[in-house]
Symmetry: C2
């Protein structure tokens, strides 16, 4: 590989002049600049990123910590963060932790040591919450509804309203026996959606009927089977997310129960697969794209250093497709 010194020699200038052109740190005579850029082009010279980062204040890097890119919700979040970061001149650095505290620790340390400009955390494990208290890099909590002075900003959507909307939609669609597959209650999203369901039940004098399930396809299969035994009269199901809604549909399909004829289903998230299914899934739209955009915007506009514990809550909406009437 060609070095900066060789480029300088070919251009008949000093290495620091080449550096000034590459980094735009000071004005260089336009003739010289053109000559240097031509030689860079011809030789295929690539500046050493590690050397540049050492002397720059900002690494122009946005770190993203997600629990699992195998989960389509996080894949979409990551893809949007990726798009917006590049648009704003930052490189996105994705760390996939699989809910493993060791990997979370390694990811945090790596991003700090890379001098990332900010870290977007779409996870709320106890470990991450603790570790971030001493993080020298600003942190944005995304879709985790986890806030506090250690977090510059917290971006999430209105889970409670989502729970209400799903329940009201099933009532309006003629359901009399609604069962809520509530998600893991240690997660804010699950807890608030469940609270929304509960409040609507009370307002309509409808009994609470629930089973509990992780955000997981296989557990969704098992809990739907349990639900059908526990509540054989069910005619409407609120699944805790789209993946579990897909499990629910699968169990009903295998048992020849027609959807939406006999049982109607609502999911949460609007992952892209929800509209590829047949029947297409009725679900609560979380504005993933807008939330991702907000997170990157705060970083790119350098607004984070002035923020502490600032909340941005996005509205949700319901899209009625083919699993409800």
């Amino acid at each position: 590989m060609i070095t900066i010194r060789e480029v300088a020699k070919l251009a008949g200038v000093s290495a620091s002049t080449v550096s000034r052109v590459i980094n735009g740190t000071a004005k260089v005579d336009s003739d010289k600049k053109e000559r240097i850029l031509r030689i860079i082009e011809e030789t295929g010279f690539v500046p050493n990123e590690a050397a540049r980062t050492l002397f720059r204040k900002s690494a122009k890097t946005i770190g993203l910590i997600v629990p699992s890119i195998r989960n389509p919700y996080f894949t979409e979040l990551a893809a949007y963060i990726d798009d917006f970061s590049l648009q704003c001149g930052f490189r996105p650095f994705l760390c996939n932790t699989g809910y493993d505290p060791e990997k979370e620790k390694a990811a945090l340390q790596m991003l700090i040591s890379m001098k990332a400009d900010a870290i977007i955390v779409a996870s709320c494990s106890e470990y991450i919450k603790e570790a971030i208290k001493n993080c020298p890099v600003p942190v944005v909590s995304l879709d985790a509804m986890w806030s506090g002075p250690e977090v510059a900003a917290c971006i999430h959507c209105d889970y409670y309203e989502g729970g209400r909307m799903a329940t009201e939609h099933l009532i309006e669609s003629g359901c009399h026996n609604i069962v809520c597959i509530k998600g893991p209650q240690y997660r804010y999203s699950a807890r608030y959606r469940y609270q929304g369901y509960l409040d609507v039940c009370k307002e309509h004098n409808i009994p609470e009927q629930t089973v509990e399930c992780d955000y997981d396809f296989n557990q969704g299969l098992a809990m739907t089977e349990e639900l059908l035994k526990k509540y054989p009269e069910v005619d409407g199901i609120i699944a805790c997310n789209d993946i579990v809604a897909i499990s629910t549909y699968k169990v009903l399909y295998e048992q020849n129960i027609s959807v939406p004829g006999q049982v109607q289903i609502v999911g949460f998230d609007n992952i892209s697969f929800s509209k590829l299914l047949s029947p297409e899934l009725t679900t609560i739209i979380q504005p993933i794209k807008e939330m991702a955009e907000k997170a990157v915007e705060l970083i790119a506009n350098n607004e984070l250093t002035e923020l502490s514990d600032k909340k941005f809550i996005f509205p949700v909406s319901l899209i009625a497709r083919q699993t409800t009437k």
Copy 2:
């Protein structure tokens, strides 16, 4: 943030001794070493990654260039590369290019400037092929069946055999009117699968019946509609990949054509969604996990520098689920 000098002062040693302990570059007296490690632990000191990379030969980084993490096939590939890289002590750096030559160029330059140990390319755009000719970092082409002296190793699976298997399975399942939705013919995977279909047709004296389609859900919908008009007697469909198989099922579902009763479907790839669907998709399994493992293994074992244009071809298999009889 605490610096290496401050750690050195607290431990009563020189900064270069601390550096030797962190990087393991030379032996340090065990008493001193323990003291240094304790102070690093207590102060939460994080070594500056940029500074370390400058003085190390290897950045312990594996770059991965994929066209789209929104495509579940590439998401799974990326997730496996991620897992195996971390297991081998490398950090994975994922670049998502959206088939955009500008982003491909930026990704390549970034990975080179980061001193990545190797770059895994799961894309075969003309731009990437050209650009990689001068790449100073070893390149592994993964699932792109693109080889040549500029590539250290090329890992893919037996697309041709996959095309044969899918066709033979439909014949054995009683289909008499098979239509092949052939994929984009500039892609090796699509071309070889189609050739497999063609050869089995010839061997069984079956007429060739095809439409052509990109690896894309929406185009899959349009092409399935065209297929039903062009070949109204169809009773078996080979979709060019699982995503298009999902489109195909959707169109048949909307037209009340029963699957597998009236029409049977086979896909390719075995993306994880293929078994979440109802009915579950019969498909050709590509050993994504094993291919990803091989790619990382070649890099971690430092085998790449000795290789040029080495091919690793993985066998495929068929999994019969619910879209065939």
